[in-house]
């Protein structure tokens, strides 16, 4: 009785939280995306598709395209960095491995906003890196690192890398190393073993990690803002600007809905591939 009351309470309070702070605001966003703009009260209660029509403009499509490229690039770089790292991590002695995992996770106890500011301090014209390089005499005038595409990539990869490492690490850890013995026994070279055994069997981790990097990379607006300046407009920045700068709530809402749909699409793909990996059946092996 007490147990079930506690259960009802904990589930109920979580549900209430989600409803108040996620569902209700999102219903408003969807609602606003179909309303007319009003200079005084932000939206006027009149149905229109103008919000979406405006998104068909080349500006927004370019923003979308650029966001996708940036998110894909970030995912690719993270994957290339995370996979070997996770692989080495699994094979390290226990103590060292735990320390490295901790070192990777510790920064996440700090707000990512603050960490992005830290990157700004590193990259600035009179920042730490430039000061050091000038002092050593390697360069004679400061490099312009801040407000470049590279800085944006560095910032995104730095922030999102652990989300790639952890799922891949888990999937490599679950790998049955006897399968590698079996493959070698059957004449497979290292290359064959990697591409035919290790890669397919760790694919669930790769897909999970990629999803967890790609989706936030689409929406993170403050990293391109701080590190890329005004040059790189992403969907996230676009939405932020519509609400806070332009004051065009219907267009901002419509863009939010589109972003959500894109994410849902990718989540669906992820769901399909993970279900396939599951029926591929690693768990059933004795």
């Amino acid at each position: 009785m007490i147990k079930s009351r506690f259960r009802n309470f904990s589930i109920g309070s979580t549900m209430l939280w989600i409803i108040v702070f996620v569902v209700v605001p999102y219903v408003f966003v969807m609602l606003f995306s179909f309303l007319e703009r009003d200079p005084v009260s932000a939206v006027a209660w009149k149905f229109t598709l103008d919000g979406y029509r405006e998104l068909l403009s080349p500006v927004f499509l370019k923003v979308c395209w650029y966001s996708l490229l940036l998110a894909l690039g970030t995912t690719a770089i993270s994957l290339l960095a995370a996979y070997p790292f996770a692989f080495i991590l699994v094979r390290l002695p226990d103590a060292l491995r735990r320390m490295l995992l901790l070192l990777m996770i510790i920064p996440f106890w700090t707000s990512s906003l603050i960490r992005t500011y830290a990157l700004v301090i590193l990259f600035k014209a009179n920042g730490i890196i430039n000061t050091f390089l000038l002092w050593t005499g390697i360069i004679h005038e400061p490099l312009s690192m801040l407000y470049t595409q590279t800085a944006v990539f560095v910032g995104l990869v730095y922030t999102l890398l652990p989300f790639m490492v952890l799922p891949i690490y888990t999937s490599i850890q679950k790998l049955d190393w006897r399968l590698i013995d079996a493959a070698r026994d059957l004449g497979a070279t290292s290359r064959h073993i990697f591409f035919r055994i290790i890669l397919p069997l760790t694919m669930p981790g790769i897909v999970a990690g990629s999803t967890m990097v790609f989706l936030p990379a689409l929406g993170l607006f403050y990293i391109p803002d701080f590190l890329g300046g005004a040059r790189s407009m992403l969907i996230g920045n676009y939405i932020k600007n519509q609400f806070l700068t332009t004051g065009n709530w219907p267009v901002g809402s419509a863009a939010s809905v589109i972003l959500t749909l894109i994410m849902c699409l990718f989540l669906y793909v992820y769901f399909l591939s993970s279900r396939k990996a599951h029926t591929g059946g690693m768990g059933d092996m004795a």
Binding site: D176, R178, L179, D181, A182, A183, R184, D185, L186, G187, A188, T189, H192, R196, I197, P200, L201, T279, G280, G281, M282, G283, D284, M285, A286
Partner: protein
């Protein structure tokens, strides 16, 4: 076996940190034989297999195959294949792809691969299941696929690492027969690792009994069972009763041993001298039990009391407590002219055996 051995291990030692898993072991394996490495867990039998397969590197010693030195040759360059303990089938590949894996590593003719895979499936009686995924198969079927995946590569030597240990009793007996059939059909050399002495005895041409990284005895199942060379082999392979005795007199090839004051004539192959302490070993089925009332002759015997009668259908097992102190285990077969012999708990019985059925160590 005059032919040169196909695999030859010479003074092979494998050390893991401070532990000697295999200790200067030498072994010749001949073309076409079914050789079993039998021993308790941790005796080094699997390590020997992994050394032959190339998964482990030798600490010292040498392995030859067809006369050429194999040290340092990686597993993918050795003409041996392994059936792993828990099969290690690739979970993301169908039965067909699992079996074709080894062939794909070496050749590219898809049509030829298909034919060979189908042949292998036929041999293990799995035709028609090639599109299944490993997790859709029963334990016995997975076992068959693991076999097919190895034999399709036509290895000179097939290594089997406790392949039956994950199966239940009935399936294990069925697979024992299957393995023997495949062995006969292919004519390739099998090196089989097991801790199950019944499995070893019923399947092997030769058995190497291992203990603590060494071979205690190597021989045919009959030699291992009937003429164990030491106490370890005697006790590890089958049930055995041990009587402590002392040699009273020695004759030509035989001796008289005193056990609890009774003088038993025994064979003296190991040439024990008068006065030396010996162990007389007897298998449960080699002991004769006679109830007191029917004991007419004056031959030497040990007297005891039946403690337990276990009816087994084909046989009856008796646990007999001897007056000398030992508790022994006896198996009696029902025999036509003794039909009325029914043992009861508490009965006084005489124990003896036929000259030559004993082993003296």
């Amino acid at each position: 076996m005059e032919k040169p051995p196909i695999v030859c291990l010479q003074g092979v030692t494998k050390r893991f940190d401070d532990v000697k898993a295999v200790d200067s072991l030498s072994l010749d394996i001949y073309q076409g034989e079914f050789l079993t490495l039998l021993g308790p867990s941790g005796c080094g039998k699997t390590t020997v297999l992994r050394l032959i397969a190339g998964f482990e590197t030798l600490t010292s010693g040498e392995i030859f195959m067809n006369g050429s030195r194999l040290n340092g040759t990686p597993p993918n360059k050795r003409n041996v294949n392994t059936v792993f303990q828990s099969y290690a089938l690739f979970p993301h590949m169908s039965v067909f792809e699992n079996i074709a894996f080894g062939l794909r590593m070496k050749q590219h003719d898809t049509k030829a691969i298909r034919g060979q895979v189908m042949d292998a499936l036929d041999i293990v009686k799995m035709a028609g299941l090639e599109q299944r995924m490993p997790h859709q198969l029963s334990g016995g079927q997975q076992q068959r696929v693991a076999m097919a995946r190895a034999i399709v590569n036509k290895p000179q030597v097939l290594l089997l690492d406790e392949p039956l240990s994950a199966l239940d009793y009935r399936l294990r007996q069925e697979m024992e027969i299957e393995l023997k059939r495949v062995h006969r059909q292919l004519g390739i050399t099998f090196v089989f690792v097991t801790h199950d002495q019944e499995e070893a005895i019923s399947m092997s041409d030769r058995i190497a009994v291992m203990n603590e990284g060494r071979i205690e005895q190597i021989g045919t199942p009959i030699q291992i069972y009937e003429e164990p060379e030491n106490m370890f082999v005697a006790k590890f392979v089958g049930e055995i009763n041990v009587f402590e005795g002392r040699v009273r007199e020695v004759n030509n090839g035989s001796a008289v041993v005193d056990i609890h004051g009774e003088a038993f004539p025994v064979q003296n192959r190991k040439k024990f001298g008068v006065g030396s302490g010996v162990k007389v070993l007897l298998r449960p089925e080699d002991i004769q039990v006679t109830v007191e009332d029917e004991w007419a002759n004056g031959e030497p015997s040990l007297v005891g009391r039946v403690e337990e009668v276990i009816y087994k259908g084909k046989t009856v097992d008796l646990i007999v407590k001897l007056h000398g102190g030992e508790t022994i285990f006896v198996t009696q077969f029902f025999n036509e002219d003794q039909e009325n012999v029914i043992y009861r708990e508490g009965q006084r019985v005489h124990i003896n055996w036929l000259y030559g059925w004993e082993v003296v160590l």
